[in-house]
Amino acid sequence: MTQIVVQKAGTLDMPLTIGGRSFTSRLIVGTGKYATNEVMVDAIRASGAEMVTVAVRRVDLDRTKEEGILHHLSPDEFFLLANTAGCYNAGDAIRYARLARAAGFNEWIKLEVIGDQATLLPDVHATLEAAKTLTDEGFKVMAYTNDDLITALRLEDAGCVAVMPLASPIGSGLGVVNPYFIREIKRRLEVPVIVDAGVGTASDACITMEQGVDGVLMNTALAAADDPVRMAHAMRHAIVAGRMAYLAGRMPSREIAVPSSPVQGMLD
């Protein structure tokens, strides 16, 4: 059971520390698929997230120059975590990571190597290969992976600063489909475990955090909500609620009723 000393610091939790950097929020959010840039910025602010993911793509030379996300999102306000989304082999992921670092903000990368177009499940062999190269090159790698313990352990051995198993497929909103494996990965790894992908609504986020993981990364759950800003508020609360419930230690569940009021002292 995790021990926390709370009263002294006047807080109920410790910061999330990844790769030597501390974050107050345990929620990391993506910046894709929003209807407008204004809604995106409002939702991200409402979520309380300090780390946000971005993708590396060609400048569209036929369109407006305002297309780049940094015209809307200040790197002074948010910590940018570039991803290698869309890459299907280690070589491409390494290339995208190097381009992202050359943008000049930081040496962090959300490594993602997809193995299958239909499910967007990760190619764990290619992910591991790319992780080794990138950590050797000084990158701080946060690796998206499936909920397989052995892969998670190998990614930690490769020097990743965080391992990010999926709750369920990217964009599916199915919630955490295998809480046991998520808990097992968290139990066995020393680096932070961030659940990345699959959270659909606030209860999913809360249940994910109740497994004891260090944080959650989400994008579509906010961007595809009818009201992304309101959902971002909900997610902020859900992440805190799930974290607090985990740290508090839940009561045992049992399939019998136990009265909450004294059985003594009843009138004749």
């Binding site: 993506g30 910046t31 894709g32 698929k33 929003y34 995106m40 993911t53 971005v54 993708a55 590396v56 793509r57 060609r58 400048v59 569209d60 030379l61 120059k65 297309e67 780049g68 996300i69 940094l70 015209h71 940018l80 570039a82 991803n83 989304a85 190097r98 381009l99 992202a100 050359a102 943008a103 000049g104 990217i170 992908a197 990364l217 989400m218 994008n219 579509t220």
Partner: protein, 72 residues
């Protein structure tokens, strides 16, 4: 008298004719792009921002201009 000539490059996946006297910096300017927000890959090598001004675009170059967009 030298006449302005053009060269053909592959820019972000499309063949394009550009003036032969372009540096990377002047090319970005001509495209109305802020150098600080763009990363340039020239013939598969990432180009340091410091060398944009002195790097000449050559006929047949493959240039990729990338930046950050929304993503998860």
């Amino acid at each position: 008298m030298s006449e302005a000539t053009t060269i053909r490059v592959r820019l972000n996946g499309k063949e394009r004719d550009v003036d032969s006297d372009h540096t990377v910096r002047s090319l970005l300017e001509s495209l109305d792009l802020q150098p600080s927000l763009v990363v340039v890959e020239l013939n598969r090598e990432i180009l340091a921002r410091e060398s944009y001004g002195e790097t000449l675009i050559r006929d047949g170059d493959t240039i990729e201009l990338v930046h950050f967009v929304g993503g998860g």
